[in-house]
């Protein structure tokens, strides 16, 4: 799976490429609008991550260009501006997702993951991790082919973990994934702990090993 990252901030671009690279994606980068357009016409990408504010043009114009050449690449817009118009504009032009800076790399990875799954299998496929099978269409989970009852939040957690397997995920990333940035958590993530505890118990009861590792003082790792 190859991804094109069009972002003019070198450090940001590198971080994204590095994180997604470790998740098994092949990442190509462009630092401005022209280079982005060049790379789009040169090769085919499954997913394109584009910043809105770019030298020589806007990320939104990249979306337009992609639609013009009838590319079926998934498009994720990232922007420093948390503006509803930009978001609606981007989605209206045909972008698949929109992320506001700053974002968690784990969040971006989860979005890319979900997007590619939607694009390529029409959502009709299941996510397999060892003996765990997640069926996005029905939002159900099977362990050893036997269904496991999960709450909506537990399901979201599991999908997020699988998309970021072997990575340390901070509690704040989990909190904003589950509740959005709208709700100011006031630094207390105790409630996440109870959801994770329940998820871990349900998976282990169904016969899966304990995949959710606590990284002391930091967050969790699914491995």
């Amino acid at each position: 799976m190859n991804i094109l990252i069009i972002e003019d901030e070198q450090a940001l671009q590198e971080s994204i490429a590095q994180y997604l690279g470790k998740q098994g994606y092949v990442c190509e980068v462009a630092v401005n609008f022209r280079e982005g357009i060049q790379k789009i016409s040169d090769a085919e990408f499954e997913c394109i991550i584009a910043d809105i504010g770019l030298p020589y043009g806007s990320g939104l114009d990249i979306v337009k260009e992609l639609k013009q050449i009838r590319s079926d690449a998934g498009i994720i817009i990232i922007s420093a501006k948390d503006s509803l118009e930009d978001k609606l504009n981007g989605l209206g032009l045909g972008a698949d997702d929109y992320l506001t800076k700053p974002f968690h790399l784990s969040e971006l990875s989860a979005r890319v993951n979900a997007l590619l799954r939607r694009k390529h299998f029409g959502g009709n496929t299941s996510i397999i991790f060892q003996e765990i099978q997640v069926i996005p269409a029905s939002k159900s989970v099977l362990v050893h082919q036997k269904p496991v009852e999960l709450t909506a939040k537990e399901y979201q957690l599991l999908v997020y973990f699988i998309a970021n397997q072997n990575r340390v995920i901070t509690k704040s990333a989990l909190a904003s994934h589950l509740w959005g940035d709208e709700y100011d958590m006031a630094g207390s993530y105790d409630f996440i702990y109870s959801h994770i505890k329940n998820l871990r118990r349900k998976l282990m009861d169904a016969g899966a090993p304990d995949y959710i590792k606590t990284v002391y003082g930091t967050g969790y790792r699914f491995e």
């Binding site: 901030e9 800076k101 784990s106 509740w179 709208e182 100011d184 006031a186 967050g219």
Partner: protein, 443 residues
Amino acid sequence: MHRIILKRCMVQVTGSNNMKLLTKNTIWFLLIMLPLLAAGGIYLYHQFDKELKKEMDEELENDQIQWLLYFKSIPDNSPVFRITTPEFSIHPAKGPADAQPLLKTIMQYQEVEHKEVPYRQLEQVIRIREKFYTLTIRKSLIEKDDLIKNIALVMALAFIGLLLFVILVNRLISRSIWRPFYQSLDKMEKLQLEQMHHLTFPDTSVTEFNRLNEVLLNATSRIYHDFVIMKELTEDAAHEMQTPLAIAQNRLELLLQDEALQPSQLQSIAQTHEALQRLSHLNHSMLFMAKIGNKQFVPTGNISIRAVLEKHLRLFEELIRDKGLTVSTDISGDLSLLLHPLLADTLISNLLGNAIKYNYPKGAITIQLNEHLFSICNTSKYPPIPGPQLFQRFKKNASTLENSNGLGLAIVKKITDMNQLKIYYIHKENEHHFIIRKNKHPH
């Protein structure tokens, strides 16, 4: 908020024993005019009295001259020289004759009035041919007294009437002259920072008021200018901060993946990451507030608060359950508000979020919703929020959580202020209570 401050300043300036300009004017007028009129009245009364006395004395002297002429024409043994009446008496006396008649006021019994009444009396020892007589002529002063009383009464009435008339006219004139002043005052009182650039004053016919208005206009436009600059600075700064924040946060997130790191190092990175997260939340909230202030969220239609509330009750379901809170809702109707959907979400989310956050385990949240108001009440161990700090940004007090950015209520207030809504806060019996209503009298 700005209005409240303005009002507070005005109270301080005018002090506690203030009164209306018109009242003060009238009181001063009365304080000066009453003694003046009284003194004038007394002076006039005395003048009248003196004048009438002089008149009376002249009459008495005229009478005396007439009598003297008459006495000279009658023989010495005429019975006239023995007349004694209350008004006129003459009887022989010892010489020598007085050069001047003696004029004085005496009290004497009068048959008609049945009492002692004042008389003016002329007395003189006169010489008619070789004999001396004491001549006494008297005239009753009772009519003159009545006359003076009548005059005084009429005068007093005229004075009082005049005074009242002058006060009335003064008030009417004052009111009309000061009208532009009150209009300006009214405008300034209702003025909100965001609307300062719309401020205009009509031309008046009074130079001083025109000057005042000009000064006010200059001051407010300076304030507004500074305000806009500050606002733009905040916005630009907040905006420019997003990218570096993103870089730093993502770098740290990557660093967390390094398996060579010690747990203590990982923890430091996680804490730094957390602090940056808070900073970006704060930044995000500030930008959001600035946007609300800039009216960047134009209502697209009426929003059903009931739907928004139900959505957020679902969204916060786990949080409520985790804390063991009892939520009781009394929804007897739907409040329909002209609001941007995002603002409606934020409004309900912040209020409900606070009611959960500041609650204690197994506490209660009571929500009431009808056509007129949305009210949310939560039990809490936190003390009441002091009034002036209630909606202020970053105001940390005993009732602020350690890591809260303190902007939640400020955002709620901003949303209500910018959208013709009113918010009320009540604290009683360890319950915090917020009520939102439509503002019936928007300025």
